[in-house]
């Protein structure tokens, strides 16, 4: 995968919460439910969702009838935002074979081959949003759970 396990968990969770929102207005969904539906270790997922919430990609409410939910604005976040938050920007910026000196002026042997790949990746990650993916889920074109 391009993404770490943690990041994949984050994306899947945002998709599930996003999907839940479009189903029932203002409906919140709890940590346990998410972890069970997505088969992700509960407590580990807790931390990930904490991170997402702390950085504004997800909303949460404590206490009775609390849980996680997303605003319209949050639904419009591109995949990029999640990846940069969880995995960082190394995959988009760092030299493909780890050379500190690699640059446009002094490219490494994989530089030019990797460049279009990176650009395509960047474009994809910026154009795909939680919302666009949730729509493909709701239209039955794609699937998140069994």
């Amino acid at each position: 995968m391009f993404l770490s396990k943690t990041c994949a968990y984050a994306v899947r969770s945002l998709l599930l919460v996003g999907q839940h929102r479009l189903e029932e207005e203002n409906g919140k969904i709890g940590l346990r439910t998410i972890s069970e539906r997505l088969e992700i270790p509960t407590h580990f997922l807790g931390k990930i969702l904490q991170t997402l919430t702390k950085h504004g990609l997800l909303s949460s409410a404590k206490g009775v009838s609390g849980g996680f939910y997303m605003t319209d604005e949050q639904l419009r976040n591109p995949l990029m935002t999640v990846v940069k938050l969880i995995d960082g920007s190394d995959v988009f910026e760092k030299c493909g074979i780890g050379l500190a000196t690699c640059s446009e002026q002094r490219p490494c042997p994989v530089h030019y081959a990797f460049k279009p790949l990176r650009e395509k990746m960047l474009k994809t990650f910026e154009s795909e949003t939680i919302e666009s993916m949730v729509k493909s889920l709701n239209s039955g074109d794609t699937f998140l759970v069994v």
Copy 2:
């Protein structure tokens, strides 16, 4: 990076050995020299080169005037062979968000967005060979060391 640190070390080493071969016919290069020129921890690199040698991507000779070298055939290996050996094929095959059930018939929400990315990656990794990259090094178009 798409590649693990270990894999990047492997690629850089193959490039250096390949370059060395084109410079002086049948010239071998020692582990210590490689690790110093590429600034890679010596003993760690030793294991990586062992793996490459054991799987036929690199040749070695023990004893006095021994070292690592590459045959013409080895020079023609594509990047793909190295990546598959060291990192495995997950990046080319596994679902982008880690769904075991994801397939062409039952795609996940990132499936179609990632597909062209993967295909481009595959093509790139298969067409770039050690030899083609060594040539770009020798022509001064790209750089491996400071």
